[in-house]
């Protein structure tokens, strides 16, 4: 990958994250997101995907996590010491895993909270609201329902729509497929693609569903216990034998006994 160039919106350089001063979660993660790109961050449970995203959005601090080494550069500015609301103002917002809508607020109120940091007046916010409704017509139908009573898919749409209301340059999307039917997952990813193409929003997306993530992303990183073990263009990753075997569930040489899998030595690489 090229070093921090003009077309890079986010670069994470060799960060180490420690929770509670003792638990080392990320052991030197580096990645870059190009302007207008969709980059997937893949890996199993506990690999450190969410931690990486939260390190970028600075939500780590609320969970007693700290970035102890390395730095994070968003649009040419080091951002580790900023608060989450500073980052949202600068155009980087996270959609958290598990949706986290405000259950007692209506869908519309949820969306409006996304515009909290904006200072450009009611008319502009209203226009953004309309735009969100055109991307997510379902939200318009449910605008007056309490978010807590809407379906999982609607909540995910609400969470993404809420993030859009801040007019971001970049969305950190954490596990959008969680707990959703395959059809809905497809629908959500289609919208992500559309937002990327039409609004120019860059995405860094953490996913367990490697298959769909690599179909929509342009580039992918694979995390394993706090380290990036593999990265490459999405297409190349899809073709990669290791990825096929470990993450896509199709073995390289047809059926294989699990006994052999156990002995298989994983090829790793560490990004410095």
């Amino acid at each position: 990958m090229s070093e921090t160039s003009a077309s890079t919106i986010l670069s994470v350089n060799n960060i180490e994250v420690i929770y509670n001063h003792v638990i080392l979660v990320l052991k030197g993660v580096s990645l870059t997101v190009p302007e207008g790109g969709i980059v997937a961050l893949l890996g199993a449970n506990g690999a450190g995907k969410t931690t990486t995203l939260k390190a970028v959005s600075n939500l780590l601090h609320a969970e007693r996590g700290d970035v102890t080494k390395g730095n994070i550069v968003f649009r040419g500015e080091e951002v580790q010491s900023l608060s989450p609301n500073d980052l949202v103002r600068r155009g980087c917002i996270q959609v958290m895993e598990g949706r986290h809508c405000f259950g007692h607020l209506t869908i519309e109120e949820n969306l409006l909270t996304g515009a909290f940091t904006r200072r450009d007046g009611a008319a502009a916010i209203k226009a953004s609201l309309e735009k969100v409704y055109t991307y997510f017509p379902r939200l318009r139908e449910r605008r007056t329902s309490q978010a807590g009573y809407t379906s999982g898919g609607e909540q995910q749409m609400c969470a993404i729509g809420r993030a859009l209301m801040s007019r971001p340059n970049m969305i950190l999307l954490d596990e959008p497929s969680m707990g959703l039917a395959p059809q809905l997952v497809e629908e959500i990813f289609e919208i992500v693609k559309e937002l990327n193409e039409k609004e120019g929003v860059s995405f860094l997306l953490a996913e367990q569903n490697t298959n769909i993530a690599l179909r929509y992303a342009t580039y992918g990183y694979i995390l394993e216990s706090g380290r990036i073990v593999l990265d490459g263009a999405a297409k190349a990753l899809r073709e990669n034998e290791d990825v096929k075997e470990f993450y896509l569930g199709v073995g390289g040489e047809g059926r294989k006994s699990f006994r052999n899998v156990k002995h298989y030595k994983r090829r790793k690489r560490w990004l410095a």
Binding site: H100, F102, T113
Partner: protein, 298 residues
């Protein structure tokens, strides 16, 4: 019949006073999920400061009022800076314990600055009986209590609009629902907490003045917070109208119980009736009359 009406009316008025205190609790609970044990002491502290400023500087009361509001905003800021900021994302019980500590600190500071003798608040609030009722129907109703009711009504109207219609109000409710998500959309918890504690401080000041005018500013003022507890359980911790209705029910209930049931059991029901009522509510309707139901999707 006159006795009955008089009892109900005086109960209603006492209820309004409870409701004023309960309002402060609801505000902080709604916006941060913290049960603020120090709310009663905040009433005491605000009233003490108000009375103290008037006593020492003899400025007219509106100026003293504004100064006291400024002091309460300062308190809110300090609470956020030195207590809440360090406890983000902790268990509610830990935050609750912190407010107990806060209660002692505020009480001590109030004592040190303004002394511990009973202060009188005399700012020309109406007092005495409402003559029309006393002359025509032989019913005694204190003007101060009627006035308190009016103030409470205005406050509630103002707060309801603030919570439902404004950007800040929406953010307050968002924070109450989900701290982390609120952080993630760029709502600054620090600002929100200073705002909500300031508003609660303001409400405490109003309640403190009303109670202070009624019975003098003294330590026992902080104990009315305990009466606010059953009010909250009845009305629901998250509902502003609930605090009002809960206050009224408790006020009327305890007065009626004292008059009509009291003689059967030897009196002094007034002191524990509210808690019995709260207990019954906890058994059958834990979220209170108007509290937000815990949303469960099936």
């Amino acid at each position: 019949m006159a006795i009955f009406i008089e009892t109900v009316l005086s109960g209603l008025m006492a209820g309004v006073m409870y409701a004023l205190v309960a309002l402060g609790f609801v505000l902080i609970f709604k916006a941060s999920g913290i049960f603020n044990f120090a709310q009663g002491v905040m009433c005491l502290f605000a009233a003490l400061t108000f009375a103290g400023i008037m006593e020492k500087t003899s400025v007219p009361w509106p100026i003293a009022f504004v100064l006291t509001v400024a002091v309460m905003v300062g308190v809110a800021w300090a609470v956020e800076r030195f207590v809440l900021r360090h406890l983000v994302n902790q268990e509610p019980i830990i935050l609750f314990m912190a407010t107990i500590g806060l209660a002692y600190v505020l009480e001590g500071v109030g004592d040190i600055i303004w002394g511990s003798d009973v202060k009188v608040i005399n700012i020309g609030l109406p007092s005495g009986a409402v003559d029309v009722l006393l002359d025509n129907f032989d019913i005694y109703l204190d003007k101060l209590e009627v006035f308190a009711a009016l103030i409470a009504a205005v406050l509630v109207g103002f707060l309801a609009v603030f919570f439902q219609k404004t950007r800040i109000g929406r953010a307050l409710r968002a924070v109450a629902d989900d701290h982390q998500a609120a952080l993630s959309v760029g709502i600054s918890l620090q600002t929100i907490w200073v705002i909500v504690w300031s508003v609660a401080g303001f409400v405490a000041l109003v309640a403190g003045i009303m109670w202070g005018a009624k019975s003098g500013v003294q330590f026992s003022l902080s104990l009315i917070a305990l009466k606010a507890l059953p009010v909250l359980i009845l009305g629901g911790f998250t509902s502003i109208p609930g605090a009002i209705v809960g206050g009224l029910i408790i006020g009327v209930g305890e007065k009626l119980a004292e008059i009509y049931v009291g003689p059967m059991v030897g009196g002094a029901i007034e002191n524990w009736f509210a808690y019995m009522l709260a207990l019954a509510f906890l058994l059958f309707r834990p979220q209170g009359l108007f509290g937000e139901k815990i949303i469960e999707r099936v």
